[in-house]
Subunit: 356 residues, 2 copies
């Protein structure tokens, strides 16, 4: 029986993704594959809402995509402001510190959003080269506002790993210079690819990449249809098939319908949790529909891992544990991509009801 | 009709690999998945012929695995001797130069093996921290001798991307400290995973990793069964299924039978090429059975890419172009893993015969 993956990702794969994964391999320089790759990059431009030429999936998981961004844009001369309110802003910070960058961390409580008034004041004062924001924080279930950031001369980098495909994201309209996402959240593709996109402004500020594997210019020389497509590393063929299949499915339904389905499923979940006496950890206006953190009641905190284990063993349902300072304090419930349905909420709530 | 991938990789996927890829996803912390991961690492130890605890697939293609090695073992204080006779020793050099290492490149002609007498003299003179060797050079089809290297106090790093699973490789018996391989050659798994293994000696000399994504100690804290399995990045679930399926298949046949099948298919290819007046670019004792470079006769050099295109368009067969200084001068014919059969050689030779 297929497990229902209602944690923070990976989410369940759709039938078309599974079927795409099982297709015969093609060579990474075969025109048939290159045309699949081109379509995939076009679909990524569509879902990112960008015209950026440099838009492609990095051959690594989402953390690898983050690292690719860091390796090409951050060095010991960089000054970075991070709006920090969860584990994934800390991850970005850790990556950039390894390159010797000066980090100005603007901290907010976990479970609260980044306050843009405060962030913008810090940006105005610090005059950074880069601003790093997490759109949907997977550790807390907060949807940060990234629309009204006064970036000034800085590049705005946005981690949309969990947000992409679940809530609206408008790269170009919102003045985002760099976006980095992942395959295994709302796209229902296995972990292993990290869609990224770079504005012309961002590309103009690329540093000499410390990393050969993540050298974005060299990767782009293979991906870009403008040049002779020089071999860099061997593209992860079957994962690209899967990403293309997923994006095609989402496009068929349309983004508005997709976002609405996430919203409806999430609101249904909040209401059902309320009836069970459970409370989301994030205040209503700041909730990320595709990931809900739930306060674990005091009386259950000692047995929270047993409850997750029972959910898995008796009902084949996975939910996520808390991460970082939220460990033992919250559960994380994902309604990601095709998983964002009323039926899945009912299945989970029914099982939880029997266990609690 | 499935294309026959007889280039330098990716190779064709087996049915069991394709079926494994299409299995439902599991969470990266689900004990069911962790047990699959553990089995996969055990199978990697088996095929590397090592007892090294730190043995796992890096979540990237083979070039990413190489970079992981470099990021954890090479910095600006490092001195490295490279036995250099092809594109992939140049790739290793480029990666290590980015870390500021001092590189002593011991050069040999492309198509010739690394001469260990000369290499050992250079090692004795240079007293390097590291020695980098390519076992099976994918750009030239040379199988380098890596058994009699006088490594002294240095660590011996071996790129066995194309050799693993096609010819004998004995990590522990041959005193290899670091091995790095890839999924898409003789393992018949899509590109996207890089099996690596590290001796205790190598681990003791790890530097502070410049890279967060490729920080081998942090990855190992997730992979190792000895500790609490701390989450680092989300493992590429379905690709791991595929790697496990492939290694299980190879184990079922046994390594000796597998190596022998490669040898027989390659010798059959050499003989058939000879009958067509075509000549391998590598002298007989140094040929890598799973990858044969063929000199393109002078009269065909101007139309060599058309011949490859015709092979693809009319016969659904992919062979590889020459790389680097071999571009336009050789074809590369892969007989990798399950593709190493008499029937595949017949299919290719028959098609080539009709075209030439």
């Amino acid at each position: 029986m297929e497990k229902l993956l209602m944690g923070p990702g990976p989410s369940n794969l759709t039938e078309s993704v599974r079927s795409a994964l099982a297709q015969p391999a093609l060579g990474h320089l075969d025109p048939e594959f290159l045309s699949i790759l081109d379509e995939t990059c076009d679909l990524l431009r569509w879902i990112f809402k960008t015209d950026n030429k440099m838009t492609f999936p990095v051959s690594a998981t989402a953390s690898g995509g983050m690292e690719a961004v860091v390796m090409n844009l951050v060095d010991s001369t960089s000054k970075v402001v991070i709006g920090s309110n969860g584990a994934f802003s800390l991850r970005a910070k850790a990556m950039m510190e390894r390159q010797g960058a000066e980090i100005v961390e603007v901290n907010f409580d976990w479970g609260s959003p980044v306050d843009l008034n405060e962030l913008n004041l810090k940006i105005d004062f610090a005059k950074p080269d880069l601003i790093w924001m997490v759109h949907g924080e997977t550790s807390t279930g907060v949807l940060n506002n990234i629309v009204n950031i006064d970036k000034g001369d800085a590049l705005l980098i946005v981690d949309c790993v969990t947000s992409l495909g679940g809530v609206n994201f408008e790269m170009d309209n919102w003045g985002i210079d760099v976006a980095v996402s992942g395959s295994q959240k709302c796209l229902n593709v296995p972990p292993g690819l990290s869609p990224v996109s770079f504005s012309t402004r961002a590309i103009e500020r690329f540093k000499a990449s410390r990393s050969w594997y993540f050298d974005l210019q060299m990767i782009n020389d293979y991906i870009s249809t403008a040049g002779p497509r020089t071999y860099h590393h061997t593209a992860p063929i079957n994962m690209i098939y899967a990403l293309k299949a997923s994006l095609n499915d989402i496009k068929e339904h349309g983004l508005d319908e997709t976002f609405n389905r996430h919203k409806i499923a999430a609101e249904y979940l909040y209401s059902a949790l309320g009836e069970m006496g459970l409370k989301p950890a994030v205040e209503s206006p700041f909730r990320l529909p595709q990931l809900t953190t739930i306060f674990i009641p005091k009386e259950l905190q000692g047995i929270e891992s047993q409850i997750r284990k029972d959910l898995m063993d008796k009902f084949n349902i996975e939910i996520g544990a808390g991460l970082g300072i939220f460990a033992g304090k919250v559960w994380r419930v994902g309604l990601m991509g095709a998983n964002a349905t009323i039926r899945n909420v009912d299945t989970l709530v029914n099982a939880l009801g029997k266990l609690l």
